[in-house]
């Protein structure tokens, strides 16, 4: 019996990045860990957004300050107003930089705008709730991973102690590199917070592809295939055929139809008939393979024999 290799979708990402969580209902939910580049990109977008907001805030505050000066207030009260605005700005920038991640990751989508743009989100590693403490912890540690290296480098470099500064830089750079050495791609904040970052795909429901006597389904073109003709292919080929039909590219469909006809010994259909031919083959192949599924035999692809066995996809 072949080992379970999850033949469902050939487009699925590397199995190394798949993790499974068991929900309280007993369902095994599969998640894909976000790749490191994508996470870095999301962080860059977030930081850029914060910077833009801060610049906007500065402009607003300086416009207010100019307004105050323009009204020719007495110098001392104008100074005090400036000081107040400056304090407001410092506090607002601190709140923005630290509260940005907390506010968004506690929301219903568990993702900051940067993460939302690239399609990832934060999840609790043990499959439980994403609590506020977890989000807090993972974001408080970001300072050491991101701010500390830069600050330390800037601090030590002008002093001329460049050996010490390089050593310090190397030591501190361990933290940003943690995700590289980690099977679950956890950075230090994820380890302390008990979270990980997963992809958050959204899919549309595709149309039904199988031929059926219903208004919304493709009509059968009348081809009937026998047992021998359907027994050649397995689930992988079925998925490929489904993809080809959904994409609807003429050349691809013609090529697939020619390949199938080559295997079963028929003449390839004409160009107008290709879609109907493929739809019928898809419908009947799927009916056959699903009937086999119900009986417990599954055929992975054309190279493997139909095997008795239930391959669960739990790693």
């Amino acid at each position: 019996m072949k080992a379970a290799a999850a033949p469902l979708d050939p487009r699925r990402p590397a199995a190394r990045r798949t993790r499974t969580i068991l929900t309280p209902e007993g369902l095994a939910l599969r998640f894909t860990l976000a790749s490191r580049g994508v996470r870095a990109g999301a962080l860059v977008i977030d930081l850029l957004a914060q910077m833009l907001l801060l610049i906007g805030l500065q402009l607003v505050l300086s416009a207010i300050a100019r307004d105050l000066f323009g009204q020719k207030l007495a110098l001392t009260s104008a100074n005090q107003a400036m000081e107040l605005l400056y304090i407001l700005y410092v506090i607002a920038s601190f709140v923005l930089i630290n509260g940005w991640f907390l506010f968004f990751e506690l929301g219903p989508r568990g993702a900051t705008p940067g993460k939302r743009l690239v399609g990832i989100r934060v999840a609790a590693r043990d499959g439980g709730r994403l609590s506020a403490e977890k989000v807090l912890a993972r974001n408080l540690v970001r300072d050491i991973e991101f701010v500390a290296p830069i600050a330390l480098f800037a601090l030590l470099l002008p002093g001329g102690a460049w050996v010490a500064s390089l050593a310090a830089l190397g030591w501190v750079l361990i933290f940003p590199c943690l995700p590289l050495w980690n099977r679950d791609r956890l950075r230090a904040g994820d380890i302390i917070g008990g979270t990980w970052v997963v992809e958050a795909p959204r899919r549309r429901l595709g149309t039904l592809l199988s031929a059926a006597p219903r208004a919304d389904a493709p009509t059968s073109a009348g081809y009937r295939f026998g047992e021998a003709e359907l027994a050649i292919y397995g689930e992988y080929e079925l998925q490929t055929l489904e993809r080809v039909l959904r994409d609807g590219q003429g050349e691809a469909m013609a090529a697939v139809a020619a390949a199938i006809c080559g295997k079963i010994g028929w003449h390839p259909p004409g160009s107008e008939e290709v879609r109907g031919f493929l739809t019928d083959y898809y419908t009947q192949l799927r009916a056959r393979l699903e009937a086999g599924m119900r009986l417990g035999t599954r055929k992975l692809d054309k190279f493997s024999a139909a095997a008795l066995g239930d391959y669960t996809e739990l790693p």
């Binding site: 630290n98 807090l136 540690v141 300072d143 389904a217 998925q239």
Partner: protein, 361 residues
């Protein structure tokens, strides 16, 4: 009559033939419908539920919770379980990759919502300040006690080091503080720093710079708890040492009480914040060094989650300390008033941490 009979027979035969043809056509259609894939029928029967769940989940994700009808919100958990069971069945019986992918994505999104954070940011803030922070601080009491001891020890060590050899002052106290205050300065110079107001227009810059410096120290204390808490211990001792060295300097000129008053306006809050941050770092460091029967990452995660609210509170305390420093330090000028403000703040903090959030016994 025979012809009529023949006609009748023929008619009957014709009718019979027609009937058989019709029945056969109906049978063929029925067979065709039956032959439509079971998995497709499965999907057609349940599609309405899936679309409904998708609509509800989409609304919640976009944040439009208010526009959601009560019936929809109440139906969410049941719908989620229905669609989850559809997914289980579909995994075992269907080879329609598009439907499977759709269901996986939909169930994941619904799972995040149904099992997501139970409270909003605003509610969490109310809970945090209404007792959650105090409870978190009380939970870390052993680490806080240890941090206080380390800081006091650092203070004594700083005093002793500078008393033995005044040149240690430059090593202990960072250069930013060393404008006029150094060993050998006259009493008038030292007193002048405490009591004159020439730094008035530096107020906000001072507050801001000190605040970011202290916030950085505190956050480093916490984040470096990673490394078994040793950097937290060192930072605590260092801060204690700075205070101890400065106390020795002013003590030499008989200005101890004045310095204590000057520092305590913001210092009680600030040092408490640094103690809290150090305690949070120590808590994590202890968990990493002595994880007990759990895996190190699990112990670290649990400790991090206990320590994180304390850390956030420490940073907020530093904001308050910076405000006190920037505004109060120059405007409150008498030693008595400074002592009252500073130690009154400490009393308030202690009351806040020990009394709030206690459940009725």
């Amino acid at each position: 009559m025979a012809s009529g009979g023949a006609l009748e027979n023929g008619g009957k035969a014709a009718l019979g033939l027609l009937g058989r043809l019709t029945r056969r056509r109906a049978g063929a259609e029925a067979a065709a419908v039956a032959a439509a894939l079971r998995s497709d029928r499965f999907r057609l029967e349940r599609e309405a539920d899936w679309q409904r769940l998708e609509a509800i989940v989409g609304r919640i994700e976009r944040g439009r919770l208010r526009g959601l009808a009560d019936a929809d919100l109440l139906a969410l958990p049941a719908l989620y379980r229905t669609v989850a069971s559809s997914l289980s069945v579909a995994r075992e019986t269907s080879l329609d990759a598009a439907t499977l992918a759709y269901l996986e994505a939909l169930v994941s999104r619904a799972w995040f919502i149904v099992y997501g954070p139970r409270i909003s940011f605003g509610q969490w803030c109310a809970r945090f300040f209404g007792g959650g922070w105090s409870r978190a601080v009380r939970a870390l009491a052993p680490d806080i006690a240890f941090a206080v001891i380390i800081m006091l020890a650092g203070g004594c060590a700083g005093w002793a080091a500078v008393a033995a050899d005044a040149s240690w002052y430059g090593a202990i106290v960072p250069g930013a503080f060393m404008d006029e205050r150094r060993p050998g300065a006259s009493r008038e110079a030292l007193r002048g720093v405490l009591f004159n107001q020439t730094h008035q227009d530096m107020l906000p810059a001072f507050a801001a710079a000190l605040f970011s410096n202290n916030a950085a120290v505190a956050i480093l204390c916490f984040a470096l708890g990673f490394l078994f808490g040793i950097p937290s211990l060192l930072l605590l001792a260092q801060n204690g040492g700075i205070v101890g060295a400065m106390l020795w300097l002013y003590h030499g000129q008989g200005l101890t009480l004045d310095l204590v008053a000057w520092l305590s306006i913001h210092g009680t809050t600030e040092l408490s914040a640094i103690v809290l941050a150090g305690a949070a770092g120590l808590h994590i460091g202890r968990a990493i060094a002595f994880p007990g029967s759990r895996a190190v990452v699990d112990a670290a995660a649990a400790a991090g989650q206990r320590a994180a609210p304390v850390m956030l509170g420490a940073v907020l305390m530093l904001v308050i300390a910076a405000l006190l420093e920037g505004i109060g330090r120059q405007t409150i000028n008498t030693t008595g008033a400074r002592l009252i403000v500073g130690w009154g703040m400490l009393g308030l903090w202690l009351a806040y941490f020990t009394l709030l959030g206690r459940r009725a016994a």
